[in-house]
Symmetry: C2
Subunit: 345 residues, 2 copies
DNA sequence: CCCGAGCCTGACAACGTTGTCCAGGCTCTA
DNA sequence: TAGAGCCTGGACAACGTTGTCAGGCTCGGG
């Protein structure tokens, strides 16, 4: 491990500034700035001296000061619900990819589905003066963002629309996807189909429920209340709900699972059943093809959603984009077996 | 959607400053600062006037200026390899949780396993003057970080040690975990055991390979070259490698998979075999318990790793911690069936 | 030899905030 | 009633950078 000669120049905990570099190189402050930013108008010889001083001191430009001066931070904020949810991995990644292509850093945090925490986080990001925000909303009132929008913070909502403000939204066709998934079960002969989903106050959950109802209605099948479980989210309660609709007086022969977490739990429950019950889940899950039977799902393209949102964000920043829009991306039904099982009464 | 009265005070794209607020409230600049920061020494009446002006203008403190003045940013950087890898979800989440508990924001980016990109990202974060860094290294030379360390940027490496600098590291006991996993296969009667892993220049891969060799040696089993596949990472080549060691002249009866991506591909290959081949994978995978047979794995506790790393980071910042340390967290063997299959020649 | 053009370079202000310090007004006591 | 002390509020500098602008230098042409 080589020794560097930093000790002499910098006290521990103190960073050298352009002024220090200038002093060491025997040039003016502005000249250092020019070298650091690759601006023209500096003799090679001068540049060399400055570069030497920079290396010797371990100088690193202070972007806080730069931001303060320039106004733009070249960073965007991403607020999601839960970093651990596999749906957000690809989404986050694709947002970062686009940000990177535009030379911006990504600052992110998760709201843990808590509206207060979402607001806190968003405002903290605004205080950092991020140039833009990609928000997966937890709350349903975003009027607190009005001053930010007015001030020109580009904003795109993802997965769910913003509440009470007019902003860009990029989401999946939750209604259509759910309708297609349920119709798929119907096409395979099912009539008693259960729905296990989240609270309908969550937009995606409501839309998927609406899709379920629409498919049933299109097929002229009346829906029994006992077939629907709403607002259930923790595994234990999902399990109980699924078991109930499988063993009730009017047992279902198929289940439509409203999101990936529900799907996983339902798979577990079905694995314990002697009867073969069909299943279609909303959201793809890893290894779904390796299970017996493979799990048929309505897949969202998380990466495409993230990419679309981020690209819109930067187009807002370019000024290319003005009027907020709602973009719905299609879902894709992936048949793997579980959704094609015939009804077993 | 209610109309706010912002237009009058702020031009589009311009944010009000404390000066504006002060003017509107008819008080001095510093008084506004005091109110915003909840400092004492302001009459309730004055505070009310200021607060009113803040709300009316939609003022939001500019943290860049604040950081410039105060020196600390209350943000930490997280550099990981690939946001989409399920291993990093919980890790990232636990780091964020700790950061949040300390009132810090998390800025992150992924290196895509490219050393240059890692350096670029790390230095960008340093330019932002993050207080600390959690880095999952892609490269193996981190001397470029020396000035930062000298300047007091708290730094913790995760998953792999830093190269050529003395810094905190938090990682799994890759060697011990792999050794235990392979010993588990041996205990179930296997002698011809294959190893499919990443390039040994990657620390984790090298350690796991070492664990494999150690377990084999402990059992007095000589290892045939054809049983080992190193540096193979894309699914297609993993598939071919696995197929070869299963069909060669000296076919293996069990495979130890060096990481989660390899495990998934190997599962696919094994599912196509008529012969039952045992499998133990390093890293847990979701739904592993639902497969037939369940997949036995050596599990890392990603959340614990992240938490430990982040906590050390903040202890560095407190000054509680001075000397860099290497912390190895134990892995856990989770038996689910695939690792307990007897050899089938 | 002189003058103007062009190129380098550096002094200075400004970005928005916070820390320091001082002034003015008030209350309370002797 | 006067003086001491406290409380509130504001002026000012500083954080580290970048934009503006002007000055000094060199070099070529007249």
């Amino acid at each position: 491990m080589p020794q560097t000669n930093l000790r002499s120049a910098t006290r521990y905990g103190t960073r050298p500034t352009m002024k220090d570099v200038a002093a060491r190189a025997g040039v003016g402050l502005k000249t250092v700035s020019r070298v650091v930013n690759g601006e023209p108008g500096v003799t090679p010889e001068t540049e060399r001296r400055v570069q030497e001083a920079i290396d010797a001191l371990g100088f690193r430009r202070n972007d806080s000061a730069r931001v303060l001066r320039k106004g733009r931070t070249a960073s965007i904020g991403l607020v999601l619900e839960d970093l651990a949810d596999p749906f957000y991995g690809p989404l986050s990644r694709s947002v970062e990819e686009v940000a990177r292509a535009h030379g911006a850093l990504l600052i992110n945090g998760s709201s843990a589905e808590d509206p207060d925490r979402e607001q806190e986080l968003v405002l903290a990001l605004c205080a950092r003066r991020v140039d833009g925000l990609v928000v997966i909303p937890a709350g349903d009132d975003h009027r607190y963002l009005e001053p930010e929008l007015k001030a020109g913070v580009a904003t795109v909502f993802v997965d769910r629309p913003a509440g009470h403000i007019d902003a860009d939204v990029v989401l999946s066709d939750n209604f259509g996807g759910a309708r297609d998934g349920v119709a798929h079960l119907i096409a395979h002969g099912h009539r008693r189909i259960g729905f296990v989903g989240d609270m309908p106050r969550i937009h995606t959950a409501a839309e998927r429920l609406r899709g379920y109802r629409a498919a049933m209605e299109d097929a002229g099948i009346p829906v029994a209340d006992s077939w629907m479980s709403l607002g259930v989210t923790d595994p234990e309660r999902v399990r109980r709900a699924a078991e109930e609709m499988l063993s009730g007086p009017d047992p279902v022969t198929a289940i439509f699972a409203g999101n990936n977490r529900v799907t996983v739990t339902v798979i577990r429950v079905l694995a314990e059943q002697t009867r073969r019950v069909a299943l279609v889940g909303f959201d793809d899950i890893e290894l779904a093809d390796l299970l017996q039977p493979g799990v048929t799902v309505v897949a969202q393209d998380a990466a495409a959603i993230g990419r679309t949102a981020a690209e819109r964000l930067f187009r807002q920043l370019d000024g290319t984009l003005v009027t907020p829009e709602r973009i719905e991306l299609p879902t894709r039904l992936i048949t793997r077996g579980s959704g094609e099982l015939p009804p077993a009464d």
